[in-house]
Amino acid sequence: MKQLLSLTVILAVFWLVNSGHYTPLLLGLGAISIGLILYLSRRMEHVDGEVEPSIVMSIHLPFYLFWLLVEIIKSNLDVVTRVWKGEAAISPTVFKVKASQKSDVCRVLYANSITMTPGTITLDIDGDTFEVHALSEEGKEGVLTGEMDKRVSKLER
């Protein structure tokens, strides 16, 4: 129920933001569209039997995203210097790291955060073990300190 409500709110905001025309006709059509989509996504859930909150609701989320942005900028600069230095500056490695998150959504968030920071990419997920490919030793160290892991886990509470 809670999930349905949040989906409705998100869809309504999406429609209003995109539309830019607030005549009764278009608002009505928007309401009909949202209804149709809620119906369809209900059916999809019935079929794949997967009901889970698709968004992380936590007051920590904005702080996390800001921290992630800073990380992205830092690692971008790192990769950029490596690109211009050429092949000599890279030493690709593959390693495994444990994720401490409980829910699937947070694990996905963690894995995607790893991928989003250039220099590290999540190759595969097996349970709570991620296989990560890093462009350099420094990138590997950065993931292994587990700071990102801790920060994502904090979102679950």
Binding site: L11, G20, L40, R43, M44, E50, D104
Partner: protein
């Protein structure tokens, strides 16, 4: 333009069909930016949705049924080359007759275009001229196009589909549902894409968009679902029967609007009679026929996609 030419040439020369399909994606992306540059926003949107998205998927579907390598053609290539050169030459010769680019005295600017541009605001009351031309002045043409799409859907259906007959031993079609990240991300994204499709559908009057593009985007969202959680789940969400029903319902809606306007005493597809105010009538009429187009396009796309993937499954069963 340079990119277009290079891509086109490499499409011709690469023999790996899979790479060719991928390059086609680039080709349509680039040509769409070209259209935007020429201010043909609606065309660009169509190219974006159809060229880059659906046609890639459908070509891949075809590839899955045939083989990946291009066959070496057995007959010589001189004759086809001649034909192509002659046709190309003729076309270039024909363009010489055409007025210079953006010459204000060329006939296209004197025939119906000025009327479309100057009066569509008053007559139709729809800001997007392309939509009013497509939906109102050229309503017949659009109806024809919709029927063509419908016929294409039927054609593929009769070639590949087996009306109602399902394979008895259902080989599970492969899915990516073991793929955790994709599953979670797509789950959140699909409703948004669906809504976006509907937004394009209903805002065709104001911005670029309309039935064709909306239908394709809507279908793309459901195809994404089918890709990630097997085709069967998608067919459980929207059964093939409903799709076949909708396919005809869209065309009927379009034609029905025409018939209703005739019954109300107007011309076929003359929307002025739909409401007391002719401008409102036009508005509702365009909205309705665009809806018809959208429904048809969505269901035809889905039906083609499902047919391909069913066919594939049936063939794998037969092989075993």
């Amino acid at each position: 333009m340079g990119i277009l030419v290079v891509t086109g040439l490499s499409i011709v020369f690469i023999r790996d069909l899979f790479a060719v399909v991928i390059l086609f994606g680039i080709y349509s992306l680039v040509s769409a930016s070209f259209f935007v540059n020429l201010d043909a926003v609606d065309v660009a949107l169509t190219e974006a949705a159809v060229g880059a998205g659906i046609s890639t998927v459908l070509m891949l579907g075809t590839l899955a049924l045939t083989s990946r390598r291009e066959k070496k053609s057995s007959h010589g290539s001189t004759l086809p080359l001649m034909v192509v050169v002659v046709t190309g030459g003729a076309l270039i010769y024909a363009t010489l007759d055409m007025p210079y680019f953006s010459d204000p005295s060329d006939p296209i600017h004197h025939h119906v275009a000025p009327r479309y541009i100057q009066q569509s605001g008053e007559e139709i009351g729809v800001p997007n001229i392309v939509t009013s031309v497509l939906g109102s002045y050229r309503g017949f043409d659009t109806l024809g196009e919709t029927v063509v799409i419908f016929a294409a859907g039927l054609g593929v259906l009769s070639l590949l589909g087996r009306f109602g007959k399902r394979p008895e031993i259902a080989l599970p079609s492969p899915s990516m549902s073991h793929h955790l990240i994709l599953r979670v991300i797509a789950k959140a994204l699909i409703p948004l894409i669906l809504l976006y499709g509907l937004y394009i559908q209903f805002h065709g009057d104001y911005g670029p968009g309309g039935g064709f593009q909306a239908g394709v985007i809507f279908a793309a969202a459901i195809i994404l679902y089918a890709i990630i959680f097997s085709t069967e789940s998608a067919q459980k969400v929207i059964s093939p029967f409903v799709i076949h029903l909708l396919m005809s319902a869209g065309v009927l809606l379009f034609a029905g609007v025409g018939v209703v306007t005739m019954l109300l005493g107007g011309n076929f597809l003359g929307y002025n009679v739909l409401a007391h105010d002719p401008v409102h009538g036009q508005h509702y009429g365009i909205l309705l026929i665009e809806l018809g187009v959208g429904i048809t396009v969505t269901s035809v796309m889905l039906s083609i996609f499902f047919d391909f993937s069913d066919r594939k499954r049936i063939r794998s069963i037969e092989e075993q």
